[in-house]
């Protein structure tokens, strides 16, 4: 049966070409859209987790209310004790302390006078410990444009854009002006040892990376840090697990009323990510549903046209005694084969274009100026396992539905009329 139908499809191009083309177009677009959205969402979650939110984050209650301003004076206290506690309670997770702060980079001339100044967004991480994973997590080595990663205290990295703006090259000394835990103005000299470009517009404007011990020194922080970030060991965000860890931690501090009492947030609680992720998920669902519907209608129409062309064939088959149900089923089997062939070709084409977008990407950095969420400047697709089968869902469903709708006409044929029809 299958062999018979396949031979018919391959030998009679008029029977299969148009439906296959429709399925190929629809499936390739579905696969491409899936990979594209998957890539952007994945990058967004990944960037936010690595650079800003962690999979979970511990901050002080006051800090939570003013998080956008990165208020160092509202930092967490007793960080070592807190770190030990969360490490003990969640041994499968990795916990790191970080300080985010604002400041001004001042580049001196040969007389020590201000030559150029620019605002910088500082991120202090563990750069210098022998077992640190932060350099890898933030992809610092691959993000280097010039120079190297800091190897000792007093060395910093700045964004390539900021370095260009202030005309700073690796090896030069700059002065950072920022404020301490107590609100005093603090000044400290650092050697810029490298410039970086993350491909994240929000960070590439004016990022500055330094070791956390340097930041603690200049900001007069002893056992304090802006935030403690927690990461799952597999590096993948798991919302259910994050909710569990957060609920357990926060319940232990529910009775604390102090403004510096710690509070845990999960990734989706931050940077308006929850609403954005939910919105995009809804949009993906709507997009695929509309696509299946539109393709079904087109294939229904194609089936009707095919039915008209094969009117005589159907009539003959019914006239020689083939049952209507059998003819109807054979059409559906045929549509499954057409859908499968179209889905295979469409998936290959969709994956091919997605692979190109995964490797090269499209640069939207100009549109990302001023974005608060850490969006990648270059949008890339991402090919994951579901991308290999997601196209088969609309590809097969739409062809089968289209054929089922157009094939209903078979049941309207009257056996008694068939020979008369064939004679004419």
């Amino acid at each position: 049966m299958f062999k018979f139908l396949l031979k018919g499809i391959l030998r009679d191009h008029h029977r299969s070409l148009f439906p296959v083309i429709i399925v190929v177009i629809g499936v390739s677009l579905t696969v491409l859209a899936f990979c594209w959205i998957n890539g952007i969402l994945g990058d967004m979650i990944d960037f936010n987790a690595k650079y800003s939110t962690g999979h979970v984050k511990i901050i002080s209650r006051s800090y939570e209310e003013n998080m956008d301003q990165m208020p160092v004076e509202l930092a967490l206290g007793n960080v070592n004790e807190l770190l030990a506690k969360v490490q003990r309670e969640n041994p499968d997770m990795e916990w790191v302390e970080r300080i985010q702060f604002g400041g001004l980079i001042d580049a001196p001339d040969e007389n020590g006078e201000t030559r150029a100044q620019g605002p910088a967004v500082g991120l202090a991480i563990d750069l210098l410990s022998s077992d640190t994973k932060e350099v890898k997590r933030l992809n610092l080595k691959k993000s280097l444009v010039n120079g190297r990663v800091p190897e000792q205290n007093g060395e910093i990295l700045i964004s390539n854009d900021l370095a260009k703006k202030l005309k700073i090259s690796p090896g030069q000394t700059v002065t950072l002006m920022t404020s301490t835990l107590y609100g005093s103005m603090a000044m400290q000299n650092y050697v810029v040892v490298g410039t970086i470009k993350f491909g994240i517009t929000a960070m590439d404007k004016g990022a500055m990376i330094m070791d956390i011990s340097d930041a603690k020194y200049v900001m007069d922080m002893q056992d304090d840090a802006s935030e403690i970030l927690g990461y799952f060991s597999n590096g993948i965000y798991n919302d259910k697990l994050a909710t569990k860890v957060k609920t357990k931690f926060n319940s232990a501090y529910s009775d604390s009323t102090g403004e510096f009492a710690p509070v845990m947030l999960k990734l989706k609680d931050q940077n308006e990510l929850a609403s954005m992720l939910d919105y995009i998920s809804r949009m993906v669902g709507i997009f695929i549903s509309v696509f299946v519907l539109a393709m079904s209608i087109v294939l229904w129409n194609a089936g009707l046209l095919g039915g008209l062309r094969r009117y005589g064939e159907m009539g003959l088959r019914l006239a020689i005694g083939e049952l209507k149900g059998r003819v109807y089923r054979s059409l559906i089997y045929e549509s499954i084969i057409v859908g499968f062939i179209g889905s295979v070709i469409g998936t290959i084409i969709g994956l091919g274009v997605a692979y190109y977008l995964q490797e090269v990407g499209l640069d939207f950095s100009d549109l990302m100026q001023g974005a608060t969420v850490l969006w990648p400047g270059v949008f890339r697709a991402k090919i994951t396992v579901p991308a290999y089968y997601i196209g088969f869902i609309p590809g097969l469903i739409s062809t089968v539905i289209g054929t089922m709708l157009s094939g209903i006409g078979i049941y309207k044929r009257q056996t008694a009329q068939l020979f008369k029809e064939l004679e004419t």
Partner: protein, 247 residues
């Protein structure tokens, strides 16, 4: 009877002199300026900052000449020791010994807090004589502690001033402000200052304790305590130069 008439005359004369509002508001400001301003002054002071994270005390010594020149050196704590600030006209420089850099404080940085206190760099820059910078109007009287005060409302059209509107409680006897409220152009209250421990120094009244409260900031305010003040001293000219910042 004679005693009663004498008493009424004395009381009425006394009260006329003390409580009459015949004196103009601008004249009051002139008298306040005469108390607070001098050709030059050298102040050793400490700032007690009652912040969210506890109390900190910062000691400093300042040399001031007129309203245009001022030089401050921080003496303690160790972290701040050696930090110096120089004001020349409308420019402010800061020197930090840790960096051996002199950096001009300008723009929005002038609104930042000085050493985490309730004072901004802009506040430190503002030394204009009140009667020259503001137009005053007496809007009422009040009693603060044992002192009877005029309440003056000060307004200005000068755009450079940090506080376009002030409300000032002036002691009727000593011509010293005992309280000030500093407002933004919009009328929003920004800071409140209580001036206490008024002492007679070199023939003038001077408040030796000022409590600043930035109402937009949490915390319990900043006390500015004058440990020692000397007027009309012989201050060498080089003090008010950028070179002296690195000495």
């Amino acid at each position: 009877m004679v005693f009663r008439i004498f008493f009424i005359i004395v009381v009425s004369l006394f009260s006329n002199q003390l409580f009459s509002q015949d004196i103009s508001a601008n004249k009051i400001l002139e008298k306040i300026d005469a108390n607070l301003s001098s050709d030059n002054q050298v102040i050793t002071s400490k700032m007690v900052i009652h912040g969210k994270r506890g109390k900190r005390t910062i000691e400093s010594k300042s040399w001031t000449e007129g309203t245009e020149k001022s030089f401050t050196e921080y003496l303690a704590p160790a972290r701040e020791k050696g930090t110096k600030m120089l004001k020349l006209g409308d420019q402010l420089w800061m020197y930090s010994p840790g960096t051996d850099r002199t950096i001009q404080i300008s723009g929005h940085m002038l609104r930042q807090s000085v050493m985490g206190s309730d004072l901004s760099y802009e506040d430190m820059m503002e030394d204009d004589k009140l009667h020259e910078a503001y137009n005053a109007e007496i809007v009422g009287t009040d009693t603060l502690g044992n002192s009877i005060c005029w309440i003056l409302e000060l307004t200005t059209s000068e755009k450079e001033l940090a506080y376009p509107k002030r409300k000032l409680w002036a002691d009727k006897q000593k011509f010293i402000p005992l309280r000030e409220e500093l407002y933004a152009k919009s009328g929003k209250l920004l800071k409140r200052v209580d001036l206490k421990d008024v002492k007679s120094i070199d023939g003038r009244w001077y408040p030796t304790k000022m409590i600043f409260k930035d109402v937009l900031k949490e915390g319990k305010g900043t006390e500015f305590i004058v440990d020692d003040i000397k007027f009309n001293q012989d201050i060498p000219g080089y003090i008010f130069s950028k070179a002296s910042l690195r000495k």
